[in-house]
Amino acid sequence: MRAPRAIRSTGVALIAAVTSLLVVSPATAATSVFTPASDAKVTGTITVSAASSLTDVFPVIAKAFQKRYPGTNVKFNFGGSSTLVNQIKGGAPVDVLATASEPTMWSAVNAGLVGKPLLFAKNTMAIAMPADNPAHITSLADLARPGTLVGVCAVTVPCGAAARDLFALNKVTVRPVTQELDVRSLLGKVLSGDLDAAIVYVTDVKAVGKKVSSVQIPASLNVTTTYPVATVGKTTNPVVAQRFVDYLRYSLSAQGILRAYGFAKPW
């Protein structure tokens, strides 16, 4: 079905190429036809469901993507990774899913909701405190002090699972006072000064700048989470959805923007 539309939009030159596809060897035909044919159809709107920790960086990448592919429009739906998977399970009209951990993506893969995921970024954890650091936190061990108001994400979302693993890896027993359902709400309670400290992503700390203080955790004692992205099976615009996924993973611009926001390479 795709071939006739391609001919209409790219003109006579292509007709020859398509005809050659039918008679000449497939290998030469593929190089001459495939790229222009798919390029011609990269238009329209897609909705990307993305983990909360991508809230700042994704709109910037989307702008670059829309510049690279004029006529496309990328909309976002940010939330906790498991919420996003549940929304797609419930039939939400989404074209691309980007989660903040592999397990959440696997649950979508296993439910047959998405295509093959690509890993496009990596994140690590940091301790965020209000700018004046009222509880004088200087290390992970300080979080175990009684009376310290520590917040984490719920273990059902990636940043919560990462916090749990981080405490286990460093053998500290922390009694958090809240388990927020996404990392942005958690960070909000640090910004408001109601929490003494919270375990968030390094990218979150970077995003809010001087409004919070932070403690970096040595790489050997830190936990990393990897971000997979995949097209949603029921997408109404598979071409743009796939382009966006590829763009995230393979384009220098997207990877450069991710780096600028503090995300690391996953490979």
Binding site: T83, A154, V177, E180, L181, S185, K189, D194
Partner: protein
Amino acid sequence: MTRRHAPWFLLIPGLIAVIFLVLPVIGLITQAPWGSFGTLLSDPVTRDALRISALSSLCATAICIVLGTPLAWLLARNALPGTRFIRALVVVPLLLPPVVAGVGLLTAFGRRGFAGAFLYDHFGIQFPFTTAGVILAETFVAMPFLIITVEAGFRGLHKEYEEVAATLGASSWQTFRHVTLPLVAPALLSGVVLCWARAVGEFGATIGFAGNFPGVTQTMPLAIYSELEVDRSLAIGLSVILLMVCLVILVLLRRTYLRGDTRND
């Protein structure tokens, strides 16, 4: 009570309303994991959430009654300068998205909030991440329901009753306690029920202001939302438990107190 023949232009939209309101509830009931209710109810997380929900919604309702009823009277009797303005102000929590209400509560009663900082610095009182914070959030969101309902009750009341009581030598407290209050009892009760129901279902302001921790601030709606991330059928099971508990309470209340409420006068 005789059932009158309803005109079609009321009957049809009315029935559509019933269907619309009932369908999602039927959906929940059919999806509920009826086999695992036993384990669900014995789960400490469920029990904690039920306990926090019961405690916080009852306390919130009590505060609403104690503070809201007098305000309703003041508004109904035009006893304050700028009554209309105050009335508009107190219904603002009705219009606020609850999550925004949570942010508002943080800016006022959070550790760095203008009222919260005072309480924290002088008395060491902190609302966020405590059950008291849950009660505060529920009170904020639910009180307008009580005020509006009870104010309508007070206004429907003829002033003469209070005046007669006063001329017979009753003090203003006696008048309020023995004349006014019994007369508005039906309105007060429906106000209390509305207010309590809103407090029980509260989610956004609670998680925004008080946080989410099992056994401290995790009410049933928060537990349900947290569970929704993991296991939808368990979340639905929790919702149905909450629904049943509330329905039983409402039906009992109606039977005991609201019998006279169906009269037409």
